[in-house]
C-alpha cells in the first residue's frame, strides 16, 4: 500500500511569517486550496514592509547582494519544487540565474547611476541613488515563476521593500518562492507575497498612501483607474515586461540625491 503524503497548506508570506488570510478565505488554483488575501492582509503587508525598510535600505550593498545570492542558493536547492510550479526546469534555471544577476548589481549601482558632478564653483557635488521605499508589485501571469522574480528582484536589489501580489492563475510558484525567501536571511518584512485576486487587491495598493511605487506589469487591460488612484501620493508608476533584465529596471525604483559641500580652507 502506497504511503499517504502530508499535503502542504498554501499560505501568505507577510512580515517573515506564513499566516492564513485574515478573511479566512481560500480559492482553488493549480489543484490546491490557496489563501485568498484580503485588503487587510495587503494593509498588514504594507505595514510590515514599511517597518522593515530602514533596516534593509540601511544595510550595506554588499550585505544585500549576499542575501540575494543566498536566495539563488535556496532556489537552486528547491529546483524540483519550483519546477512543478511553473513551465519546467528551463524556467527555473532562468529564474535562478536572473536572481544571481541582480544580486551582483547591489554594490555597483551607484557607480553606474551616480557620480560626482563638476559644478561651476568651489563645491564638491555628488549624486547618489537611493531606494524609494515600499514597492507594490502586481506580478505577471506568465511565466509563473520567472515573471514574478523578474519584477520583484529589481526593487529588492535597489534596497526597496516589496509587497507583491502573485498572478491569480499561478499562485503556487509565489508560495514556493516565499519559502525560498524565508530561508535566505532576508529580514522579516522585506519581501511580502500575497496570493489571491489581483483585481481585488490592486486598487487598495494603488491608493495606499504609504506605498511609494507601484509596478503594474502584471495588470491585463487598462491601468488607467489604478494610475489615477496612484496619483494621490504621487506614487512612481512602473510598467515593464515579464522578461526584462537590466540595471534600469532597478533604477525605476530609485530616487537620486544630490549633495553640495563647499571646498575651502
Amino acid at each position: 500500500m502506497s504511503r499517504l503524503s502530508v499535503k502542504k497548506t498554501y499560505k501568505l508570506y507577510i512580515g517573515g511569517a506564513f499566516p492564513r488570510s485574515e478573511s479566512g478565505r481560500t480559492y482553488e488554483a493549480e489543484g490546491h486550496n490557496v489563501a485568498r488575501a484580503s485588503r487587510k492582509d495587503a494593509r498588514d503587508a504594507v505595514r510590515a514592509a514599511r517597518a522593515a525598510f530602514p533596516g534593509w535600505a540601511g544595510a550595506t550593498a554588499y550585505n544585500r547582494g549576499q542575501v540575494l545570492y543566498r536566495l539563488a542558493e535556496m532556489m537552486e536547492a528547491r529546483a524540483a519544487d519550483l519546477e512543478a510550479a511553473c513551465t519546467g526546469r528551463a524556467e527555473v534555471d532562468a529564474a535562478i540565474d536572473r536572481t544571481v544577476w541582480y544580486a551582483g548589481w547591489t554594490d555597483k549601482l551607484s557607480q553606474v547611476l551616480g557620480g560626482s558632478n563638476p559644478v561651476a564653483g568651489p563645491y564638491f557635488d555628488f549624486t547618489v541613488p537611493e531606494p524609494t521605499g515600499v514597492v507594490a508589485i502586481l506580478a505577471p501571469a506568465e511565466p509563473p515563476l520567472l515573471g514574478l522574480v523578474s519584477r520583484v528582484l529589481p526593487a529588492l536589489a535597489g534596497g526597496n521593500v516589496v509587497v507583491a501580489v502573485a498572478s491569480e492563475a499561478h499562485p503556487v510558484a509565489a508560495v514556493e518562492l516565499a519559502e525560498a525567501v524565508a530561508t535566505s536571511d532576508f529580514p522579516a518584512g522585506v519581501v511580502n507575497l500575497l496570493t489571491g485576486s489581483a483585481d481585488e487587491l490592486a486598487p487598495w495598493l494603488a491608493a495606499h498612501m504609504d506605498v511609494n511605487a507601484i509596478d503594474l506589469t502584471g495588470v491585463e487591460g487598462s491601468t488607467a483607474e489604478l494610475e489615477r488612484a496612484a496619483t494621490e501620493n504621487v506614487k512612481r508608476v512602473v510598467r515593464s515586461s515579464a522578461d526584462a533584465q537590466s540595471p534600469y529596471e532597478i533604477e525605476a525604483f530609485l530616487e537620486h540625491k544630490t549633495v553640495w559641500h563647499p571646498i575651502g580652507v
Binding site: A61, Y69, W101, G104, D107, K108, H261, P262
Partner: protein, 493 residues
Amino acid sequence: MAQVEKRGANLPATFEWEYAPAPEARDIVQLQERYGLFIGGQEVEPRSGEWFGSVSPSTEETLFEVAQAGEEDVALAVEAARDAFRNGWSELAASERSKYLFRIARIIQERSRELAVAESLDGGKPIRESRDVDIPLAAAHFFYYAGWADKLEYAFPGRNPQPLGVAAQIIPWNFPLLMLSWKIAPALACGNTVVLKPAETTPLSAMIFADICRQAELPPGVVNLVTGDGTTGGYLVQNEGIDKLAFTGSTEVGKLIMRELAGRDVRATMELGGKAANIVFDDAALDQAVEGIVNGIYFNQGHVCCAGSRLLVQESIYEPLLEKLKRRLTTLRVGDPLDKNTDVGAINSKAQLEKIRELVASGEEEGAEIFQPECRLPERGYWFVPTLFTNVAQSYRIAQEEIFGPVLSVLTFRTPEEAVEKANNTPYGLSAGVWTEKGSRILWMVERLRAGVVWANTYNRFDPTSPFGGYKESGFGREGGRHGLAPYLRFDE
C-alpha cells in the same frame, strides 16, 4: 565656586592584569609537507626539480616546502592558461563565469578560519587582522567582481569590452590572499586566464586557494600558480605568451619590470611603494586621530604600501597629540600572531627586519629622536618594536625612503598650504590621510593632494568597490571598483 583640585599622586594601588594567552588553534590548517605548482588544474612537480622551505616568521620553524618554478615551469603555466583561454573560458557565457566566481567567494567564506590561520602562520600578521580584514575582504573582492562578469557592457557602454588573454600577476607578501584576490577576481571576471606568482615568503594561502579552485570546479588552466623567488617572477615577465602583467611590490622592482616590458605588446598595471603623509589639524577629533595614526603605520606591522609613515602634525596641537600617541604605543601588544590579543605581529622575514633596522639606525644617526615603548619580545622570530621618530627633517632617509616597517616619522606644519606642500614633496603618491572636523577643509586638501587614495578622518580602509592605486612613482592603474576592470579589457576604438 567649584575648584578643580590637583590630587596628583594619590592614586590607589594598581591592578596587575596580564591577559592569559588566547591562541587560535593551529590544527585547522592541514599542512602538506610539500606543495607543488598548480598548473592546468593539477598539482605538479616542478620541472626545475628545485624546492625551498617556507619559514614562519614568528617561530623561525620551516613549515613546509614549495616548488621553485624554473623557466620551463613558467612556460608550461602560461601555455595552460593560453589553452584554457582559447578552449572555453573566453567563450563561456559571462553569466557562467560569474557563477564560478561567486562559488569561489562563498568557499573562501566557508574556509575563512582555516585561511586566516594559514595567513598568520605563514606571514606573521596578527590573527585578528587576517580573520577580520584580509580574509573577509578577499571573499568580498570575489563577490564584487563575480557580479561584473556579465555586466561589462554597462561598465563600458558602447565600447565592446573584450578580455586580453593571459594575465601574468606578481604579488607581494604583505596581504597574500587579499592581493591574490585583487588580481585574480577582476582578471577572471573580464574573461582572462591567469598565471600568478605568490610572494616567496607567503605561498601558503595561495596553495589553499588552488584547492578552493578545485572545490569550485573551476575549469583547469583558468588559474595557474607558480611559486618561486624573484627569478621565477623574471621568467614570467619575460615569457612571450603573456598579454598582461600586473605587479604589486616595490617601486624598484616595478621599474625593472617596466624596462623589461618596454616595446612589447603587454598591458601593465603597477602598484608600487609609498611614503604617505598622515596630516592632523588642530581641530581633529584627537583620540580618534591617534587611533588613525596607529592604524596607519602599525597595522600589519607597517608592511603596507599605503601606510601613513609620515605624520604631519599642525604645530598648535603637537604637544597633546604626541603625548597621546606615545601613551597609545605603550598599549600595543606585540607577539605571537596566532594570539587573538596580538596587535602587532612578526616582521615578515629576516631580510625585511634587516632593512628596517638599517633605516632606523640611519634615523638616529641623522639626528632624529627615537621613541620606543617597552616591549617584551619573544625569543625566536623576527620582531620590531613599534617606533616613533620626532625631530625629523624632510631630508632624512626615514622621511624619504619607504621603510615598510612599524616606524613613524613625525614632522610639523603650520598652515594647510604648508601641509599640502610637504605631503606632496615626494616621488611617491599612493595615499594620504587628513584629520580635521571641517568638511570644506577636507575637500580643499583632497583637491590638492597628489595621491591616488585620500582617507579623511580614517585610514587604511579598503573595499572592493573602491578604486585603489597611485600617482607618480607609486604606480599606475587602479584596483577595485568599476575602474579596476579596465586594466583587464581591450576595447574597440
